[in-house]
Every structure is written in structure tokens, then in C-alpha cells.
Symmetry: C2
Subunit: 357 residues, 2 copies
DNA sequence: TTGTATGCGTTATCAA
DNA sequence: TTGATAACGCATACAA
């Protein structure tokens, strides 16, 4: 049994489709009696307007989409949760697309765009010309963690100052000399900023910035491989600042393999605060990004955009939190349970406070 | 600048839209010279067919969707990866929908269905009547981890035999007497089967099945709370079989709080093999589900369905792997590094083999 | 080999 | 207060 159409509703209620449409959209005048008949017909037929017809007739699609390069990392779940909360509140459908490993991701995204009114684009998905094309088609776009483009609003997480703070933590609080940065700044502007902040931390202390970065893509296996090489080098490295947690955990494995204890023989820090970071021993010092807030904010900007406010072409910066665990050398070395690891966090630009568990 | 339509292409090439349509879909005869002109016009205008027009005209949408209750757990990423691999190979777009916390998830899914040719529905999304409605609309559906419904093909992970094996492992290999099952069988048929397998394991050893299950939803915080209560009970529990890893990790925290060592004073097992399971100390004994295979298989069934083969209404069962770490009492208690935890795994129905790291 | 005309389900314009 | 009718972009039976 196929779906009922507006024609069947109209005929059952003894009116024209125009009147039905009026009732559906609450537009224009309809006599109370007529409205009543129509509402009944709709209910009796179990009628639901066709999304296709609506969209084709040029109405809003009442849906937005978010595009990720990859649905695997720790990143997307948090962002989606935030965006979805917004979507639910705004009564808008949310579609998700991963371009991962697809041949013609550009065509894919363009098709995806036809389903929605607005799009959230994360790093490594669509840029430059393709982005222009999308905008030309009238899709509203918000960038997430992307290099800022003229005229397109963006949401970013502030990274550089935290990387600087973290670096200074190693240099000053722990009095170290030889740090290394692991990760490829080309991957995204966020990573680039982490590397810059790492340099900033050295400069602010009058230190000569070390070599590097040691470029590798952000996977645990790569962290392991890179660390094996680094640790075999002549110069003894005291701490490795990793571009993300997965790399850092790879370093853990390499350290064990070379008989180095963390943090006694080697200190490590990550970025992202993935679940493993809390359970690894010793607990991984890292940066917690408010991913949900990211998604939520993107949604709010989308709202403004969809309402026709074109003024919001600015970049919104979201703050993070520095999570101090033990891998940097802080705190005790209680190994009996990761869950109980003492841990403190620094919010914003250095305002310290303790968070329970 | 709006998108070009088929009419503009036709007029530029000096033909009718019918001929353009023929070229686009490789259907019917077109003179080589004409085709050439049209192809040129398409390129020059940067024309891309409208997905809307196509869909409305009754063609295939060339897209499938997957619906999750929730995009947060460890479950979805793996399944999506598998399904996406299939989608990429089949040149079909993949949309993802999370119904989480939405008011009218039924309406949401129904709208979602209009965008796609086929749908993969996971547990706790759509059932019964709503499912019937979808099928009535002609959407092809594959169920994932759902109770089997007549006429609808399904993919399931075999749970019961593994739960039985695991239970016997505690009872026989470790010679324990008092086990408990933590988790709510009502959540999904998979959990229900784990509970049944737990009972099976007792029965097969001529033991009287213990009380329980201790019902709680599958979150770490609930595992913690439930374990605190359980461990305060009079009867001493030797092992807790948890319905998933997150519950198990909650138990870890509770154990530490009560001064119990795992596995010396309390044994624990989980289910899912989430990343934390490998990093926790001691490593968590658990069941690894081949989530990617799940997604891939669902895709393959969808292919058959979309090709009009209606015969595939059977249930496909996918095997898992038992991952033995230390929380069950096996192996050493090397605590210096979780990454190096010795670990062995049992594939299929007891065929043991060792997997490196 | 090509073109005309119709339908798909809706909204919107205009007239009644 | 209501109703014809024309878009919207495409595919397709049928005609030429």
C-alpha cells in the first residue's frame, strides 16, 4: 500500500488540494468546519506530506547535515551529540555523512547537500572550489576546525594557548630541557596551532625551539613506530608532546618495549582526552575539548544562517581544559587502579581547579 | 547562481530534454554526434542532475541509511565502517540517523526513509507497527541486532554460546562458585541472549543458576553503583559477568573503592572489547564482536533486496571472539603496562588461538 | 534517432 | 473562504 497523497486527502474531505495545503502549513484562511473535515481526513488516511514534493516545490527541507572525513576517531561522537541536541530542540532532522575513502567525495557531498538546508563541514572534507560550488547552490555552511574562509562562519577550538601552557608546564614546572612534538601539523589547522603553541612555549621561556615536528598521521600504530625511532636516537628525549591521545598511547607501548617507565624515564602528553586516556596507566595528561559545545555552537550558527542572517561570518573560538594526570610527571604513581587516578584540570588560560574523577 | 537544469542543457545542445535524459542514463539510442554535443553542454554548464527531480520521478535514490538509537556507544562506529565500505564499493550514498532523545523518532525515521532506497535499523529504533509502515512504503529494510520479524531479513551477532563458554570458563577453569550477571536483558535481544548463555553455562555444569540478573542500563556509572551495592551484600560474589565493557569498568572503580583487587578478590568480564578494555589494569576479559563484518553483511543483504530479490528473509548469524585478558584471573599480573598485557583469544566455539597484541 | 506530453507531490499565484 | 493551475526537475510511454 502506497502512501496517501494530498489529492486523496482533498477528495476525501471534499475540498481542493489548495485548501489542504493551507491547513497543512497554517497559511491563509480556512473555515473552521472545513479545517475540521480536512484534519479528520488526514488522520483517517494516516497522511504524511511527502518530503520530496515539498522540497521540489522549493520549500525548506527542514534538515541539516554534518560531513566528517571519517567516523572512526574520538572526535565525531561528541560533536554529533552536541549538534543533535540542537537539532532536536530546533525540530530539524540531522543527517551524517562520512566521506572516508570514497572516490569522488566532492560529488558525494554535493548530492548530500541537496537533502538539506544547511551543512556543517569538518576539517579534511570540502574546501576551496568545491565549497564555493556548495555556497552557490544556496546551502548554508558552517565550518568546523577548518581554515577560515572569507564569508563563511566557522567554529574552532582554541589550541595554541593550551599547547603553550602545556609546553611551559614541562619546561618550567618539571624543569625539563628536551621536548619533542609528535604529529603532522598539515593534517588540520588545529594540529598546526598545537605545534605553534609548542614553539611559543619554548620562546616564552627563552629556549631555543627543538627540531621537529616529527610528522606522522594521528594513529596509535604510527605513534608507536615513530616513538621507537625517536627513542633510539642519540639525544635523550625527556618528554614527547603528542598531537593526539592515540599517538601518545602508541608512545606508551614503545616506551614499555624499550624498558622506559612513564613518567620517570619519559613523559608524555596527548590531546583529546579519549576514554583510554583515563584508563591507561599512568593516566595520560591531555587536553579535553568540549566537543559537544562545538556541535551545539555550530547548530546555533546554522539557525541564524537559515533565518537569513548573513552577518555571522565570524569565527567562534571555544576554550578547552587541560587535564593533568600522571604521564607528565605530576601526582603519585598509584598503579592499582586507573579509575582512581588523582587528576586535576586547568580551565581556560590557567585557572586551576580540581575535578573529582 | 542557481544550478543548471536539464532544460538548459537541452537548449544549449539544441535537443529536447528527453535526449539529454537518455544520455544521462545511458538508456535508448542516441546518435554519436548528438551525444557529443550534449556531453559538452553538460560539462560547460557544470550540470549535475537534481536528486530531487530524480527521486520524485520515481527513480532510485541511490542512497541507503542506517538508524541508531544513539551515536555515543562503542557500537556504531564499527558497524558504520563496515556498511560504508560496502556503500563505497556499491557507489551508494550512506546517511546516518540517530534517534536519540528525539520526541517523535517514528516520524523522524519515516521522513528519513524518504531519502533512501534501503534502511538498516538497529536495536531500539523502530519496531512493530512503525516498521510495517516503512515496509508498506516500499523501503527495503535490514534489521541489526533486533528481534527477528517475519519477512524481514536480519543480521545478528551470536551471543548465547559465548556467554555460556565464558561462564563455564569461570565455573570450570577457575573453579568458582558464585557468579553474578550485571545488565538488563530487556535492552536488546543480544543482551537477553548473554543472560541466557550465562544460565546455560550453569545448567551445563549441573549448577543451580544464581539469582539475578542485576538489571541496570549499560553505562559505566550504573556499573559502579550496582557493584557498590552488590559488593556490600552478605553473600560473597566471586565474579561478575557484565553485559558490556562499560558496566565492567564501573565495577573496576567500585572494586577499588571497596579495597578489592581484580582478579585476586573479584573477577570481572565485559562484552564489546571497547578500547578502554585493553588499557585498563588488569586488562578486561571480554567478547570482541566483528562489528565491521556486521555492517558489511547488512550492506550485502541490502544489495540483494534492492535488486528485487525478496527471498532473503533469513537471519544471518555472525560469530564473535572471546578475548581472555587478566580480569578473569588468567595470565600474569604484570601491571607495568597495559599495552603489553598478555592476551589470548578464543575464536568461534572454543577453537583457541593466540593473537599478538 | 528524436521529440511531445504526462506524471511524481507539493507550494504559490491568482482569480473567483 | 475556496479553487484552478502553474511551477519545481526529472523520467518515460508514446508518437513522429
Amino acid at each position: 500500500m502506497a502512501r496517501a497523497t494530498i489529492y486523496e486527502v482533498a477528495s476525501r474531505a471534499g475540498v481542493s488540494i489548495t485548501t489542504v495545503s493551507r491547513v497543512l502549513n497554517d497559511k491563509g484562511p480556512v473555515a473552521e468546519a472545513t479545517r475540521h473535515r480536512i484534519v479528520n481526513a488526514i488522520r483517517e488516511l494516516g497522511y504524511e506530506p511527502s518530503w520530496l514534493g515539498r522540497a521540489l516545490a522549493g520549500q525548506r527541507r527542514n534538515a541539516v547535515g554534518i560531513v566528517f572525513p571519517d567516523l572512526a576517531g574520538p572526535y565525531h561522537a561528541g560533536v554529533i551529540a552536541g549538534l543533535e541536541a540542537w537539532a532536536a530542540a530546533s525540530d530539524v532532522a540531522l543527517f551524517i555523512l562520512g566521506t572516508h575513502r570514497r572516490r569522488q567525495s566532492s560529488a558525494l557531498v554535493e548530492e548530500f547537500a541537496q537533502h538539506v538546508d544547511g551543512l556543517v563541514l569538518t576539517a579534511q572534507t570540502v574546501q576551496g572550489e568545491e565549497l564555493e560550488r556548495l555556497l552557490d547552490q544556496g546551502v548554508k555552511v558552517v565550518l568546523l576546525g577548518q581554515p577560515v574562509q572569507a564569508g563563511v562562519p566557522a567554529v574552532r577550538v582554541e589550541s595554541q594557548s593550551y599547547a603553550k601552557t602545556l609546553t611551559e608546564h614541562f619546561l618550567v614546572d618539571h624543569g625539563l630541557q628536551h621536548l619533542g612534538f609528535l604529529g603532522d601539523p598539515n593534517v588540520s589547522p588545529d594540529i598546526e596551532e598545537r605545534w605553534q603553541g609548542f614553539l611559543d612555549g619554548h620562546v616564552s621561556q627563552g629556549r631555543r625551539p627543538p627540531g621537529g615536528p616529527w610528522r606522522t598521521s594521528l594513529r596509535e600504530s604510527n605513534g608507536y613506530k615513530a616513538a621507537i625511532k625517536l627513542l633510539a636516537g642519540r639525544r635523550r628525549l625527556e618528554a614527547i608532546v603528542c598531537a593526539n591521545d592515540e599517538l601518545a598511547l602508541g608512545v606508551y607501548t614503545a616506551a614499555v618495549e624499550r624498558g622506559l617507565r612513564i613518567p620517570q624515564d619519559l613523559r608524555v602528553s596527548g590531546w583529546d582526552d579519549i576514554p583510554q586516556a583515563r584508563w591507561a596507566v599512568p593516566g595520560l595528561t591531555t587536553i579535553h575539548q568540549p566537543l559537544e559545545a562545538l556541535g551545539q555552537r555550530a547548530g546555533e550558527i546554522l539557525t541564524a544562517l537559515l533565518e537569513g542572517k548573513n552577518l555571522v561570518a565570524a569565527t567562534t573560538w571555544i576554550p578547552s581544559t587541560l587535564i593533568i594526570r600522571q604521564s607528565c610527571g605530576c601526582g603519585g604513581e598509584r598503579e592499582e587502579a586507573a579509575a582512581e587516578s588523582p587528576q586535576s584540570s586547568i580551565h581556560g588560560a590557567g585557572e586551576a581547579k580540581t575535578t573529582p574523577k
